[in-house]
Symmetry: C2
Subunit: 326 residues, 2 copies
């Protein structure tokens, strides 16, 4: 290939030149499209906001009227507009919420290109899949090297980072129409808090009494997360092949009741056991704190475990209720 220019140099140069001018033209078109898009986007945003206000005020106006027969056709129209607006909202800018803003500032995080949306979700899934085994092994090492506080701290640092990253990504996914319940994001915030408690817990007698339980629980959770990730992948695959989800389109936010599947049945006992361990940790830590009341990390961690248990359990039960009902 590198010797080609030697043979017919002139021709090769001419080829490259013509490709170059084509490229220049495309880049020119691209820049034009972007500036065209900028204007169109601005126009759309202002019109959308106006229309939303109008339709909303029409709705509230109609709500006060008893004699609806006369307004039946108007009501129907307004319903359609309202639905249209909901669909169009996927073209409006979106913020990732406070937590994401803490890291990135207020920027528009809407994925307007389908490709981007799918890529981001895939990356998120890959991330969980890759780090699952890592945490299993790392926690196992911590369990083996029971006295190596440095290793334990490294694990807790990783965990704090891991949950922060999950929370950022899930906030962005949610902003782009994922149905993930906000509790699971809160769960990550609390887990960051728990990791911080264990990171700053001095290497004391009380820590020695808890560390093995901590790492056994950690291994269990890491294994469970691998199971969960498999379930989520399978579920996503089913939904995708049904042509319903996986694209996080606001258009199909209406929940798709998947029937109580066999994989879910398999997963549930493990999930419940994991949550009961959280409750156990909460009680154990509370008792430990009564023995060492100076180390307030213990109490904070206990309270955080309680909140995690309460939220996880109730959200899982609610999800089950929704699914078996549908």
């Amino acid at each position: 290939q590198t010797s080609t220019p030697l043979l017919n140099w002139e021709e090769y140069l001419r080829d490259v030149e013509s490709t170059h001018s084509q490229l220049l033209q495309i880049s020119y078109q691209l820049r034009q499209s972007f500036s065209h898009l900028d204007n169109l986007q601005a126009e759309f945003e202002s019109k959308y906001q106006m229309q939303k206000k109008d339709v909303e005020s029409l709705k509230t106006y109609l709500k006060d009227i008893r004699d609806t027969s006369q307004y039946a056709s108007a009501k129907e129209k307004i319903e359609t507009w309202s639905l249209d607006l909901k669909q169009m909202s996927s073209l409006m800018p979106v913020s990732g919420g406070t937590f994401v803003e803490l890291f990135l500032g207020t920027t528009d995080l809407r994925f307007r290109r389908k490709q981007q949306r799918i890529a981001f979700k895939t990356q998120y899934e890959l991330y969980k899949k890759r780090l699952g085994p890592f945490f299993v092994w790392m926690t196992f090492l911590c369990f083996l090297f029971e006295r190596n506080r440095w290793l334990h701290m490294l694990l807790q640092l990783f965990l704090a980072y891991y949950y922060a990253s999950l929370a950022i990504r899930e906030n962005i996914l949610r902003a782009n129409g994922s149905n993930i319940k906000s509790w699971w994001i809160w769960h990550h915030y609390l887990s960051m808090g728990i990791a911080t408690c264990f990171l700053t817990w001095p290497d004391s007698t009380s820590y020695a009494m808890f560390r093995n339980r901590l790492h056994i629980f950690g291994m269990y959770t890491a294994l469970l997360q691998i199971l969960q990730a498999r379930y989520q992948m399978a579920r996503l695959y089913t939904l995708r092949s049904l042509g319903k989800a996986g694209e996080m389109d606001v258009a199909n936010t209406d929940s798709t009741p998947i029937h109580w599947g066999s994989s879910m049945k398999l997963l549930m006992p493990f999930v419940i056991v994991g949550q009961l361990i959280q409750l156990y940790n909460c009680i154990f830590l509370y008792r430990l704190w009564r023995m060492f009341p100076v180390e307030s990390q213990i109490l904070v961690a206990s309270i955080l475990f309680l909140s995690t248990f309460a939220g996880n359990f109730s959200t899982t039960m609610y999800t089950l209720y929704e699914k078996t009902r549908g």
Copy 2:
């Protein structure tokens, strides 16, 4: 306004209806533009990559030839193409580098719309401006409440978060053509490490010997950062009014030598003193570690301070050299 529909209901409804159909049409156009853009972008990316390879191989081919007179015109052409490609690179997707990928996964972080680019940079500047005074006060409180280890840990947590956020944002800015030197981003990574050391340092005798120095140094740094932010804002303003920077265009990456200004002269002594304090911290911590060799946090922090000093000092000196030469 809300009573308008009562008066001429029919007319109002018709108005909203016509706006609605306009909006629908714009949203349709918008979706079309996006899908058109998707295709154009894909075409551009593949052509760009091919052309880049060709131009590069032409360049290396010409380099080997002694008798350049014959190829003078070809050489000129290739130079132009090369420059064009550099300009066009601002339309190619870009990754934020490993650190950003750890948080967001591999996504395209190129700001193609000027508006986005400027908004992101402005947010970054606002962020630094807002958190400056916060850190001054917080560090002052830590100095006052000398024995409140909880408060100190909170400060170190905030600092770790702050430097992570700065590093993420600056990586994104750099990917979009900012001239920020990679050292300053490394500085943030090291600072995260320092904050982690102080966060996990047990509340021991050695800590008691260092904490006041730590907080006095912290206050100095926080104040210095406010000064620096002012300088950066002023510099950006000057560059913007000269029409050179602030848009982070790869097109104008060639550095703009601003002459050794009076604000820079004012800033420099404070910067140098700050860096010397870092060296002092390094030495002090090293001696402390010799007294308490069990607490390895002290040694790690000392090494991190040494690296910070070395990098900061040499980068600042190099920047000064560049600027006074220009």
